[in-house]
Symmetry: C2
């Protein structure tokens, strides 16, 4: 058996698919002790606490589904997604104040697949995507995989700065760069936890409209607010012809079903359906109908409240532990979603510190993961969504010790 080097045959874009430098380390993070307790407290991943779901209820929903609609649920579906689920999605979007049209919705294999398909449709090599600083690591990865130039827009404590956005666009236009879209997570952003204020949403929409730039609004956390709902979503403030909206059932229900959606202007939607078919033929009909029946037969809003209560408690414990153990460091006072963002002292490099942290029993995601330009060395992301409050408290204590002992 020869060991052939096929990598020399890969497409040019393949060079942009890189293994994360912290990947090997995260394998260690998943190790458990003999009694099942974790060897390392992970504040790194963004996993929802699916243990808060009732598996009995899901079993019932699925048993009924198989009994009543088994022939449909087990079969191939359509490339745009199940009609009933798309109708229900418009109702969920209505809860967020969005007037959605069922014809403009395409169901995708998680909203990650929506990002992948939009990237495939829009991005030629060297095209620009504008993003927050920092921005969601999974989005940066997929934009890069289509050889886009990622341009970070200056982002302050209130999210993307509209003045900076305008300056960046003018600068890029002067350079003759082709800006394909602006990608933004206005609600409880990943990784920062920021909420973009209403006024900024309007300003950013105006700037994008003026410069004829498509906005891609990614909103996985909008319904997971802890106190009050975030400001109106950008698609409800702007023109649905200028904004693509991505939604997900991974945080309000369960990521194991890999089901999200895209609401897009008609001609984008039309191509998106074809791209979806080329990529997966159709999204899983079984998973779509599980969600559809779950929405129909259960009190999903009560479940949403359960999630909110759990995450609010965990957020409280994380922020107060940070106040206790690392009072001098700046962090986001997160009001929803999964994350807070921590500013480190200038002498501490979050990527170099990670092995020391893991050795000491705690993991986080280094800030560098969320920038395409090498920044983020003195920042890190902490997730409070998955570990219980005891672990969060202990994890922050261990993190504070790691930072103080950093060498």
């Amino acid at each position: 058996m020869t060991n052939k080097d096929w990598s020399s045959r890969f497409a040019h874009r393949a060079s942009e698919l890189k293994e994360s430098e912290v990947r090997a380390l995260f394998a260690v993070v998943n190790r458990v002790n003999e009694d099942g307790t974790p060897q390392v407290i992970s504040l790194a991943g963004g996993m929802p606490y699916v243990q808060a779901l009732s598996t009995d209820i899901i079993s019932e929903v699925q048993a009924r589904l198989l009994r009543e609609k088994g022939g449909v649920a087990l079969q191939y579906g359509g490339g745009q997604g199940n009609d009933t689920l798309r109708k229900q999605i418009t109702e969920i979007m209505k809860v967020e104040g969005i007037k959605a049209d069922v014809d403009n919705i395409v169901v995708t294999t998680g909203s990650q697949s929506g990002l992948d398909l939009l990237s495939k449709m829009f991005l030629d090599r060297g095209n620009v995507v504008l993003v927050e600083s920092p921005s969601y690591v999974g989005a940066l990865g997929v934009f890069k995989s289509y050889q886009a130039d990622i341009e970070h827009v200056y982002t302050d404590d209130y999210g993307m700065n509209p003045e900076a956005l305008k300056a960046k666009i003018v600068e890029l236009e002067a350079l003759g760069k082709r800006i394909k879209f602006l990608y933004i997570v206005p609600n409880f952003s990943n990784p920062t936890g920021y909420v973009l204020p209403l006024e900024r949403r309007k300003q950013i929409i105006d700037i994008a409209t003026e410069h004829d730039i498509l906005i891609v609004e990614d909103d996985p956390y909008g319904l997971l607010y802890f106190d009050e709902a975030p400001p109106a979503s950008m698609i409800s403030l702007g023109d649905t012809e200028n904004i693509v909206y991505l939604g997900s059932f991974s945080k309000t229900f369960a990521p194991g079903f890999r089901t999200g959606w895209v609401h897009a202007p008609k001609d984008i939607k039309r191509l998106l359906v074809l791209a979806n078919e080329a990529a997966v033929l159709s999204p899983s009909e079984f998973n779509q109908l599980t969600i559809s029946e779950y929405l129909k037969h259960t009190d999903w809003k009560a479940q949403l409240n359960t999630f909110r209560n759990i995450y609010r408690d965990r957020r409280d414990v994380m922020l107060s532990a940070l106040d206790d153990y690392l009072p001098e460091l700046k962090k986001t006072k997160t009001a929803g979603g999964f994350f807070t963002w921590l500013q480190l002292p200038e002498h501490v490099n979050s990527k170099l510190m990670l092995p020391q942290a893991v050795e000491h029993g705690v993991a986080y995601t280094p800030g560098t993961a969320f920038y395409a330009d090498g920044r983020g060395k003195h920042e890190l992301r902490l997730s409070f969504s998955y570990p219980t409050t005891d672990y969060i408290h202990k994890g922050i204590k261990l993190l504070s010790e790691t930072i103080r002992n950093y060498k």
Copy 2:
């Protein structure tokens, strides 16, 4: 609300994502009468007969899964796919005589996603993919979507012709073309139903090895033989370093779970995992574990026999109806899978005839769908997998009338 033409912003590759010309017609095909019977007998689609599965058994499997492993099944998984399922896949591949390595397997969102990710990894604009004539429409679509040049290799009644393959490669090499891989469905090919003979498998492997061309062997139907098993798969005959193998649970279990797999040489596998993560983060853990538990707790080989018996009966009825009603036309004497391939008289254009056929109450897929070069006008694909024998018999009768009345 302005109606903006975003299509002018699409990437170059977007122009290759085209709506099928028969798409609108197929919407009509799905219409049912008030009593639930179909208005048109469809011999067009390649849907498995999932009604042959026991929904009770699947419900039980899923209820146990949620009870015992709910926290895993509902969560994000890994980019390579579930470890236990990958181990079980090696056992299924062993049934087909393949020595598979669990480390070389990547689970994908149906094998369509495997094709998409491989295409993304390998295909720059203008790179060549070699395929059978005709070849699977879904593969042609995804190769085109990455702007590949599709080169059909002469295919006779026994599948791809090795001499023609050699000549084609020499011709393309002389033109300086970059051949990225050879895509082939050796068992009960879609659309022709051909089985590639053992000797040809070996010859094609030798030619590919000699010219340093990767083989992508797609095998969704290998276990669905009606009499005897097809010859050894190409990956078991050749060097696993030179052959990528695609498998699927869509035909042996259910397409509604969108779960397939790729067995690939190490460095292709490594990049495939990253491409999988960029596309969907992870394939549906719930669906993977449903299949894993189904394989573990049920007699899946008995179910496979049930499928074989059903499809054999339907094949018998279709071929004998073709003998009765269209004895003068050449067709594949299919020995497994879902399809037969019909040669029409020279004056009959299968694409132009389709509206007449639908009007008369029967649908098929025109041959042109399976060629990237406009051929196939006097051929068509018939599927016997989904309709019951009564409908198949009546459908062939209606087709024969349509052909005789063609104008």
